[in-house]
């Protein structure tokens, strides 16, 4: 197949980046910034899968291609880049370093899209590195001490990850005798190379203990950048594992165990760390870490039990898309929130934010809930030993996420991020709403979108409400508790009873007002009754009725009582066993 | 009896008559000198053609023949030495024209030409002699002329140095004469042919040892080098060039020649010679490192280089001189050309800057670039960097030493090379440092026609390395050491 579509797909962001350095073209480039991933999106949506193309003369032989898996990644990634680009356009309007941001943004985009299309190890590595290094500029953008620190941490981890990746790829390539990813996937790679690759990708995924860079980086980057960092780029780690590791063909029990354990720890440790954050975007970052822990569970299971991989992988893709859209929406929403100046509009945005937040938390029938249920089903095929734990962990992750989301909502009010001055409030709202809508609609469109890999989602139960509820309740409790701690017990108690007292007072007032009317009624009603009775001769009718009734009762008691008309019914009480479990925090 | 005009006779007697004529007619001295040089060079070229055509050629002078008469003989080696003398002498003379042109140098001009032509006579005689007594006479002629050249400038330091040179020379001559006498008393003959195959009796060895010590004194082999640095450093530049480039080589040539005919010296003796050479290499190098004046440094470098040539003798070992003489001969040629170039260049630098204190070379804005460049080129050959003739000589020396397993001589050579790099780089640093000059540096100041002669010599020293193969095959003509290569 011809290379042209790929050149179009990848050349667009590259060309824009180059154009951006030319002062005259800048305003034009910023205007089309949202559309930079469009050609890639079009390729993924319209192309016939699988499609590959190669250029032997580029680098060490460049192979590009898209298949059913990668095109899904391209779709949600591209969508997110579009939205982020639209936000960035306004966000960066008056920024003195806008050009540098734009170039880095586009380069990272190029890397991200490119790695999804790469079909050989070298170009994959190249695009991966491009994305990682270009993001450095995004993280660093604000140049505040926090950003500098975050960037330093970030680049350190990036270098570590790249090195591990390089080594892993080199070893894998040597073992497979080929650099084509399809060949790598079918080779039983040595333990060390799998471990190295795993480390390289887990850095990107932020699996503990390789997560340190992620929350500060996501917190420090400007809103549009953190949306793609957390929504799109983080998925490169997942994509890398899916596309390079010989999952489904060889078993790596030890690696799988480690990864699953790390995933479990990640899910909950990220919660513990996340709820302590004051920066709402850092909270979101920790939430991402936590969510990636879920993906790690699936990957770990796939490493352990190759037979289960076929069932797991569609779910992982769905979860990736789910998280990308929901988290992207949240980040963009943070920006939208910050851009609002009025209290009312802020409230409205907060309400809108609740949707993606709940989706992320796994509201039943939302993509979150479906995804988790599907993952449970898929993991059921994997390891019977681990299964109960996984199920519990997955369920509880819902609680954890809800708590984090609650924390996020609280912090967004308490500690709103800074938006650039003169930002049009409605301009950044639109991308946010778009992604939120996409996030909500994901379960509905997934069937048509994913076609061959959509089955597990279609069949998945809608999921349970209780983790979310539980989380909400806990969050509320914690909020109340925190509130009480903050203002002191006495005041808090008075605050607590204030509504009741107010209600009482109000009731008193009402009673007082109504008493007079009642009294009036007490007088007028008997009078009216008497008049009506007189008018209708009620007295005589009533006496006649009584006589009839008495006769009837007399008759009844004299009849034999062999048959019972109403048999006695048995009652079983419903136990509330599930609610006895409370998260241990 | 008709006197056959032979180029050999011409090359000895033309300079002699030239010297007399130049002494008698001081006004025309330069003209006479050049005419003599041209004639002599022509004779040498003629001789070279004969030798190329017929191999070694001989001529009994006055028809007496050996063992009593005086024979002249020319083979490849001697013609090469003659050619070296002619070429270097010619170019030094050209440089002398410029160097001695000032009015205050009238006296020097007057004496330079006769002395130099006398020196040429002596040297050509040495290269063509076939008996040791004749060698003695010629060496004395050289010594007297050389002392005259040394003191030409008339300065007190030069006179003192010349006197010391004179003492050493007289003493060396006496030892040589004693040795010659003893040889005669032992063998009854003085010609080279008579020496060949003589039984190495104790007395004969003693006689040869006397001769060797005498020559070592004249050629300034460590530790008998004491007179050389002062003498060469204090003479005027052309005189220094002649002394260091040519005069020392005459004695070296005699050693080489005698080694051909003498009984083979014992291994221990050779080692002793080599040790002396090694001492010269080290000591000369160290002294050059310490020298404060440019010409003194160059003079000490001569001491070191002569030591290196003796190391080349010493590495002969069991193989004998049949191979190692080539290395020595190449080193002699290389040193002759390069050292003459270097002394002339040093003289030019001194003339331009006004002093030759190494430490202050960089304090002046005057940079005689071409002379400095010449100096550097000559240094390349002296250090022995490729592709110079010095490199080729060193290559043969080390190759032979390695093949014979004499690693210590290889080590000495390498140490000497490193030392020479060290001391010459002192000079280069002086040439190339600019931050101690306040005035703007005149880069091309000091271009003069006078630079042509030293530059030509230096380029020859480098370029002859590329022609080493023809040079080698030429000096092998007549198989001076009796073994076909």
């Amino acid at each position: 197949m011809s290379l042209l579509p790929y050149i179009a797909a990848l050349g667009l962001p590259l060309g824009l980046a180059v154009l951006l350095t030319w002062a005259q073209a800048r305003s034009l480039v910023w205007r089309v910034m949202p559309f930079a991933p469009l050609s890639a999106l079009a390729l993924a949506l319209l192309g016939d899968m699988p499609m590959t193309a190669q250029a032997e003369w580029l680098i060490l032989g460049l192979h590009l291609g898209l298949d059913d898996t990668s095109r899904l990644f391209v779709i949600f990634t591209g969508l997110l880049w579009c939205a982020a680009g639209a936000t960035a356009r306004h966000w960066m309007r008056d920024d003195p370093r806008a050009t540098s941001f734009g170039v880095m943004f586009l380069m990272a985009q190029l890397g991200n899209l490119g790695l999804l299309m790469a079909q050989d190890a070298l170009s994959f590595y190249a695009f991966f590195a491009l994305m990682s290094f270009a993001s450095y500029g995004l993280v660093l953008h604000s140049r505040t001490p926090q950003a500098l620190g975050a960037a330093r941490l970030y680049i350190g981890f990036v270098v570590l990850g790249e090195l591990a990746l390089f080594a892993g790829l080199a070893l894998a390539g040597a073992q497979a005798g080929s650099f084509l990813l399809t060949d790598l996937r079918q080779t039983a790679l040595s333990d060390i190379s799998v471990a190295l690759l795993m480390i390289g990708f887990c850095v990107k995924l932020g699996i503990m203990p390789l997560h340190f860079w992620l929350p500060p980086a996501h917190g420090a980057a400007p809103v549009p950048a953190s949306a793609v960092l957390s929504g799109a780029m983080i998925k490169a780690g997942l994509f890398g594992m899916i596309t390079i590791l010989p999952l489904g063909s060889a078993a790596y029990a030890d690696h799988g165990t480690v990864l699953m354990a790390a995933g479990m720890v990640t899910i909950f440790a990220a919660l513990l760390l996340g709820v302590q954050q004051a920066n709402p975007k850092a909270v979101l970052g920790f939430s991402s870490v936590s969510q990636m822990g879920i993906l790690a569970l699936g990957l770990g299971a796939g490493l352990m039990v190759p037979q289960a991989w076929a069932a797991i992988v569609p779910v992982l893709i769905f979860l990736a898309a789910h998280h990308a859209l929901a988290k992207g929406a949240l980040f963009l929403g943070t920006g939208a929130f910050a851009a609002q100046t009025g209290r009312v509009t802020r409230l409205v945005v907060t309400l809108a934010l609740l949707f993606p937040a709940l989706v992320l938390a796994g509201l039943p029938a939302s993509s979150g809930g479906l995804g988790k249920e599907a993952l449970k089903t898929a993991l059921g095929a994997a390891s019977p030993v681990w299964l109960p734990w996984l199920t519990v962990a997955l369920s509880l992750s819902g609680v954890a996420t809800t708590l984090l989301m609650a924390r996020y909502i609280a912090m967004i009010w308490h500690n709103p991020p800074k938006a650039p001055a003169n930002l049009a409030p409605e301009a950044v709202l639109l991308p946010f709403l778009l992604v939120s809508a996409a996030s909500l609609a994901l379960p509905a469109v997934w069937g048509t979108l994913a076609q061959t890999v959509a089955a597990p989602i279609r069949l998945a139960p809608s999921g349970a409400l209780w983790p979310v509820l539980c989380g909400v309740v806990l969050a509320a409790g914690v909020a109340v508790f925190a509130h009480a701690q903050r203002i002191g017990a006495g005041v808090f108690l008075s605050q607590l009873t204030a509504p009741f007292r107010a209600f009482g007072a109000r009731a008193d007032a009402i009673v007082a007002a109504k008493r007079r009317a009642a009294r009036r009624l007490g007088h007028s009603i008997p009078k009216a009754l008497g008049e009506t009775a007189d008018q209708w001769r009620l007295g005589q009718t009533a006496i006649a009725g009584l006589i009839v009734l008495t006769l009837a009762v007399e008759l009844r008691t004299t009849l034999p009582a062999e048959t019972a008309i109403f048999p006695e019914q048995q009652q079983h009480p419903m136990p509330l066993q599930d609610l006895t479990l409370t998260p241990d925090f | 009896m008709s006197v056959e005009i032979s180029p050999m006779i011409l090359s000895v007697f033309v300079p002699l008559f030239g010297a007399i004529a130049a002494f008698v007619l001081p006004r025309a001295a330069a003209l006479i000198g050049f005419a003599t040089l041209v004639l002599t060079s022509g004779a040498v070229a003629w001789l070279a053609r004969d030798v190329l055509a017929a191999g070694a050629v001989g001529l009994p002078l006055g028809g007496w023949g050996a063992p009593l008469g005086i024979d002249l003989r020319a083979d490849g080696l001697s013609v090469a030495m003659l050619a070296l003398t002619s070429v270097v002498g010619f170019l030094v003379s050209i440089a002398a024209l410029d160097s001695l042109k000032g009015p205050e140098q009238a006296r020097q001009r007057q004496y330079f030409w006769p002395l130099w032509l006398l020196l040429l006579t002596g040297m050509n005689g040495v290269y063509l002699s076939t008996d040791i007594f004749n060698l003695y006479v010629m060496i004395e002629v050289i010594a007297l002329a050389a002392v005259g050249l040394t003191v030409l400038s008339g300065s007190r330091a030069a006179l003192q140095a010349g006197l010391d040179y004179m003492y050493a020379s007289i003493f060396g001559a006496l030892l040589f004469l004693m040795g010659v006498g003893f040889v005669y008393l032992q063998l009854g003959r003085l010609d080279f042919a008579g020496l060949t195959g003589a039984a190495p009796t104790g007395a004969l060895i003693a006689a040869l040892a006397l001769i060797f010590v005498g020559l070592a004194l004249k050629t300034a082999l460590f530790p008998l080098h004491f007179w050389l640095p002062a003498a060469h450093a204090n003479a005027t530049a052309p005189a220094s060039a002649l002394l260091s480039g040519l005069v020392v080589k005459a004695a070296l040539y005699v050693v080489l020649r005698l080694a051909q005919y003498m009984p083979f010296p014992s291994e221990n003796l050779l080692t002793l010679v080599g040790l002396m050479g090694a001492g010269a290499v080290i000591w000369g190098g160290v002294q050059a490192l310490r020298a404060e004046r440019l010409k003194l440094l160059v003079a000490w470098s001569t001491v070191a280089q002569i030591g290196l040539i003796f190391v080349a003798f010493a590495r002969a070992g069991e193989v004998g001189l049949s191979e190692s003489w080539k290395a020595a001969a190449l080193l002699i040629l290389a040193h002759g050309i390069a050292k003459a170039a270097m002394f002339l260049a040093a003289g030019r630098i001194k003339d331009e800057i006004g002093h030759d204190v190494i430490r202050d070379l960089d304090r002046t804005p005057i940079r005689p670039t071409l002379a400095q460049f010449t100096f550097a080129l000559a240094a390349i050959s002296l250090i022995g960097l490729p592709p110079s003739l010095g490199f080729i000589g060193k290559w043969s020396l080390m190759e032979g030493a390695m093949a014979a397993g004499y690693w210590h001589w290889v080590g000495v050579t390498m140490a000497g090379t490193l030392l020479s790099v060290a001391y010459f780089s002192r000079v280069f640093a002086g040439f190339l440092r600019f931050d101690r000059v306040r005035a703007p540096v005149g880069e091309h100041q000091g271009w003069a026609l006078a630079d042509a002669a030293p530059l030509t010599l230096a380029l020859m020293a480098i370029g002859l390395g590329l022609l080493a193969a023809p040079v080698l095959s030429f000096i092998e003509i007549g198989y001076p050491f009796g073994v076909a290569p």
């Binding site: - | 007297l144 006197l163 005669y184």
Partner: protein
């Protein structure tokens, strides 16, 4: 003790005296004279070497050598003396 041995040893002794003098003398003139003594010793030795038992005539070649040596020594001495004189003149002017 044949006469030639006596003469020979004498020659060696004279040469040795001259040698010691040449090496140890500080004064320029003394050094020249010591060298002259050396040359006399050397000549003596050679002449002795040329001696033959009386019916035979002495070998002429060493005599020729000695005569040449004397000539050379004379010229060399002359040069050395000229140098010494010139030096002394220079030193005298310097001191003044």
């Amino acid at each position: 003790m044949t006469p030639d041995l006596i003469y020979g040893l004498t020659g060696v002794a004279v040469f040795g005296i001259g040698l010691v003098g040449a090496l140890s003398a500080q004064d320029r003139l003394r050094r020249v004279l010591a060298l002259k003594l050396c040359s006399v010793g050397a000549g003596f030795l050679l002449v002795v070497g040329a001696w033959r038992e009386p019916p035979a005539a002495p070998d002429p070649v060493p005599h020729a050598l000695v005569i040449t040596g004397i000539v050379v020594m004379v010229s060399a001495t002359a040069v050395a003396l000229a140098l010494i004189r010139r030096l002394q003149t220079l030193e005298a002017t310097d001191e003044r």
